[in-house]
Amino acid sequence: MITEALAGKTLLVTGSTGFLGKSIVEKLLRSVPDVGRIYLAIRSSTRRPAAQRLQREVLASPAFGRLKGELGEAEFERLTAAKLAVLEIDLSRDGLGLSEGSLARLRECQIVIHSAAAVEFDNPADLSAQTNLLGATRLLETLIKTGNQPHLVHVSTAYVGGMLRGLVKEELPHDPGLNWRHEAAVLTTLRPAVEEESRRPEVLERLRKQARSRLGPAGTPAQARQVERLREKWVKDRLVERGRVHARSLGFTDIYAFTKAMAERAVTELRGEIPLSILRPSIIESALAEPQPGWLEGFRMAEPIIFGFGRAVLRDFSGLPDSLLDIIPADYVVNAVLAVAASPPPAGEYRVYHAASGSRNPLRLRDMYDQSREYFGEHPLRDRWGQAIGTPTWTFPSRGELTAKGKLALRAVGAAQQLVERLPLGATSTRWSDDLTEQQAKLERSLNLADLYGVYTEVDCIYDTHNLISLWELLPPSERATFPFDPATFSWHHYFQEVHLPTVIRMARADTGPRQGPGPSGSTAPKPETSSALNTLQRRAGRTDVMAVFDVDGTLIETNVVEYFFWMRLRDQALSEWPRFLAQMAAQSPRWLYLERRSRAEFQRSFYREYEGLEAEEMRLLGREALQAVTLRRIYPEGMRRIRRHKEAGHRVLLLTGAVDVVVEPLAELLGVDLDCAHLLQKDGLFTGDLQSPPSVGEARASLLQEYAGRHAVNLAHSFAYADAISDLPMLELVGTPVVINPDARLSQHADQRGWRVERWKMAPGNWRLPMPDPRSATHREAARR
């Protein structure tokens, strides 16, 4: 019935770059070989034209793997060239932005499958309205304008009925007395208002404070960019929030269901003489058998929950354990779409179908929980130490209870995070902060999940599938095997244990096997898998236009400007003078800590005042000694190895530091690399305590680097930068390969967000010493006497 009805027909599929869309195209090509022509509605994106998107985003998908295997590459190419064609359609524009030729082609279409949608539940309100509601109406209006009357299959969602109880019939959803035109106008015009709101002084002030606290030492431009990013996020969050509240207040689960419901109203109202079928799938999950078992794209609804359960991130979940969780395998939906497409209602009529499992093969929330428990019991996920993670026991509390608990925990973690970020503990605080960030992310994720999907686990209704099953009964047995869509034909146990859960694990790239052998440990070298920078380095070997810029304090050496000074001054004084000097330094330290947190530049300026009145030549000699006593003792061996690798590869190496010349010059000489550091002004052989030029921190470092790159014909996009602190952010942003070494808490978060390489370099253990010369040394005694 299906193959005959579709043979020779010309189809249009919208949303063909999406999961459902490409599954439909694939099934058509494979199981309905006599289909006439399939137009794929694809819009050119800013990055690539529509024809390329067809190749890259549709045909290259693993969905077509089976067909390619069956036909062979050449035959596959021939088939797709013969059957598929791109029709450039832009659903966000009135009239779909069609050219004359496109319009003519649209006129040829006999069946239009509209599967384009913004399916995320947490999309901003305006985007959902544009895509889901206005997209459908624009398509329909254009079809009417062509004068053609193709069969329109509108793919909707079972949740358009909102939060209902009891049996939901295959008819138009309840009408809360809304005008879809009005709703569309409200939702699509939200953005300017929210944008406006985001620029209110109190909002901007708050965002600026946030940015300063996170990026203070990175300099003004970086801060400004951060404020803008935060503002954009603020706008998006607001729009999402608006959409969610709007939908809930009108009795819908979320903005997706709401806009889809409005779209159903709109298409039935506007349909004119066009035969219209509305197909409402429930929650679409991985394919049972076709094109291959477990075919799935992207994490959808149940996966985050299942995965969160397996990782024991979701310690508990709200919902009614006996409520129906209406899941339907993707290939069943695809087959249902084709069956519906093959049976158009009479002209001017419409028919609604539910593609849902609830009435034929019910799955309860507790069943899914039991299935997951069984699966993870046998195939536990592993944590980063290779230990099996035990699954939590869910008690199914109410949503309110769970949210309240989660929010409380989140607040506690947030407070701890604030505290830790302000501790002057270096690497230790980074580790704590990273742990806290991880905790925070976990909590936020579980709260989010509970909020987004919790509703679906409280839905207490059954979707009637009478219309769909009537189609099923008309299907001859041969086609029933090719196009199964009756949910009663499979078992949930098989589906979860053999198909779906393994897919979830595979897609999450989670480890379920025990770890392979012990990694190299107790070594100052980073683990090989963490050092992708080394591979990049190798690839760029032999290029003279590549440079590697290294920050020094904290990146190559576990020390800072204070310690050198400390050592040199102690070395310079007799033992009896030490207590007075130490007391002086101790009294100053709180102020320095405060300044260091606020701005590197201010700190350095203030600190270098301590050099006032010291003999330059004497300090230069002491600086050479400090090389042995402080610098080389606190050095990171991996840092030295990396510099040598860069030099071997022929790269130019530059040390860029705020430390004074007397202490870093000896190191740069030893390494044989270029150096840019602070220089102190001298008068009559004494330091004045002033810097020759402003300290090179934050954006000043970036411009310094640019200037250097220009002077030496260096291609920054292919260069490397190594740094450890947030004040180096502008410098890191400038190069193609930024590598973050032992980041402070704030930089760690940044690196994480941007996917920068993070390496942990260690000092060789056993070398940590107070920056204090040996008071027993005869040389010291003699020098002090002089």
Partner: protein
């Protein structure tokens, strides 16, 4: 007359045995019937060292008195052993100081003005000002430092010369100042029979190109007894190089030997047999044990490394190197030799905090191997104490700790090379060149106080013979990951180590314990 060395058997009445354990000590019960090798007690030192030195210089062996070799206007170079000798460093005055003061005085009397003193560091690290001052004494230091008293620099191409090739085809290099001197006086201190003789000049004032002739796996595997020069290919090679040097420059050798009084009064118990411990010794043991269990590592290290040995001079000889060295070896052997009957299945040894290459520094894992398998294992004459295929059990905490100033190339050796292989031959083939010629190590070696880039390789090669000889090596109390990286087995207690050794040597093995330091030389018959 001091008591000679002895082999005592562990019976029911034996007290527990002392094991050195890095910067710490432990008492262990050895199985009944095990034998413990004790070194002889310290020999009576020469009562008037200065007089003995003067006599040796005035009546050299097979050479003219030093006084007659000195004349005005000549170029005189005095070279002396660096801080790797003796161990632990000698309390002031160091015998080298006494000898050099005498030599300098004679030179001054003879009107010699151009005198240079060079620390014969070879590929060892540059010594610091304080360390040099400790060896040469204040008088010489203030007179000559820094222009005429300095460290040999094996990587300074301008300051070293190639003086020829040995009959075996090995290159011989020498410090330029020494090569161009009218007379080189070498002041040596011999602690074990491996040191001194021709080896002093051939390694101490040479460069990598010269030293690699004998510091390599082949030579060391061919040296069946490092401590018995006639049996050692290492020494044959050094002698060839030394002869060539003597053909080229006039050398006057002064060798000294000391007794084995290695520990100061505070650590007197380490010097004594357990049966001889007085209540005071037991108390110091307990105190030290507590300290080493509880104190932070840095503090322990500082305390241990500040111990200086009250060595006494037992011999001083001057003149032609071969005759001088024979006399020195005789004195050294007299102090160290313990006669032992036959080999055993297992040898146990407690590794102390100090080896030749970590004075004022950390005994890192590579040096642990060098000390245990390179030095202590080789303290024999004839055949090793442990039979071929037997088990070596060592006690040391074996931590992942490195001195980044002194041992930078060791860190990379451990992180990169040992992660790949522990086989000396393979290591030599695959990695030695790269480390030896690495620019960064060369810089650190010359300008900082780092051992030469190739030095960790030599430390490892030194163990090559033991690695080939022993069936298994077990480290008691070591960090497990580190011990595994070194290619050994880790045991928590000595009892466990014996259990583990069972697989290699059977249920009832024979056991020898080297109760050292103080150092001993097992004369196995």
């Amino acid at each position: 007359m001091s008591r000679p060395g002895a082999v005592l058997e562990v019976d029911r009445n034996s007290p527990p045995t002392l094991f050195h354990f890095g910067e710490g000590v432990r008492l262990e019960r050895l199985p009944l019937g095990s034998r413990i090798l004790y070194p002889p007690d310290p020999l009576e030192p020469i009562a008037h060292p200065e007089r003995a030195i003067r006599r040796a210089l005035a009546h050299p062996l097979d050479d003219d008195p030093l006084k007659e070799l000195l004349r005005p206007g000549m170029k005189l170079t005095i070279a002396f052993d660096d801080l790797s000798l003796p161990l632990p460093p000698m309390a002031q005055p160091d015998v080298r100081q006494l000898v050099m003061e005498e030599v300098v005085e004679l030179a001054a009397e003879a009107g010699v003005e151009d005198i240079h003193l060079i620390v014969a560091t070879g590929l060892h690290r540059r010594m610091t000002e304080d360390e040099i001052r400790h060896i040469v004494g204040d008088r010489i230091f203030t007179t000559f430092w820094p222009d005429c008293l300095y460290n040999h620099d094996a990587e300074d191409d301008d300051e070293n010369v190639r003086i020829g090739t040995t009959p075996d085809g090995h290159e011989v290099t020498l410090n330029r100042r020494a090569a161009e001197s009218d007379l080189v006086v070498y002041v040596n201190l011999t602690l074990v029979p491996m040191d001194g003789g021709h080896k002093s000049m051939a390694t101490g004032l040479a460069t990598y190109r010269g030293i690699r002739a004998h510091h390599n796996v082949d030579t060391l595997l061919g040296s069946r007894s490092y401590m018995h020069p006639p049996d050692s290919q290492l020494h044959h090679s050094c002698i060839q190089q030394g002869r060539l040097i003597e053909d080229h420059v006039r050398v006057f050798h002064i060798e000294t030997s000391v007794n084995n009084h290695a520990f100061p009064t505070v650590a007197n118990f380490m010097q004594k047999r357990e049966t001889d411990w007085t209540p005071a010794d037991q108390a110091t043991y307990l105190a030290l044990k507590r300290l080493s269990d509880l104190a932070p590592r840095d503090l322990k290290r500082t305390v241990f490394h500040s111990m200086k040995a009250p060595y006494g001079l037992t011999g001083v000889n001057a003149g032609q190197v071969d005759q001088v060295h024979d006399r020195t070896l005789e004195a050294v052997r007299k102090q160290m030799t313990v006669e032992v009957d036959g080999q055993t299945d297992i040898v146990t040894m407690g590794l102390p905090y100090l080896g030749p290459y970590n004075v004022n520094s950390i005994l890192n894992p590579v040096l642990v191997v060098c000390l245990g398998l390179g030095y202590l294992f080789n303290l024999y004459r004839g055949t090793p104490v442990v039979r071929e295929g037997g088990v070596v059990i060592m006690t040391h905490p074996c931590r992942y700790e490195f001195d980044s100033v002194h041992h930078p190339s060791y860190i990379d050796f451990y992180d990169e090379v040992l992660a790949d292989t522990t086989d000396p031959a393979q290591i030599e083939r695959k990695y030695e060149r790269r480390f030896a010629e690495d620019d960064w190590y060369r810089q650190l070696f010359r300008k900082s106080h780092a051992y030469h880039g190739v030095h960790p390789f030599y430390a490892w090669y030194w163990a090559a013979h033991a690695l080939a000889h022993a069936g298994d090596v077990i480290v008691v109390g070591g960090e497990r990951e580190v011990v595994h990286r070194l290619g050994f087995k880790a045991a928590t207690t000595l009892a466990d180590a014996f259990e583990m050794a069972e697989q290699t040597v059977g249920r009832y093995p024979s056991v020898s314990h080297l109760r050292t330091p103080p150092l001993l030389l097992a004369d196995v018959r």
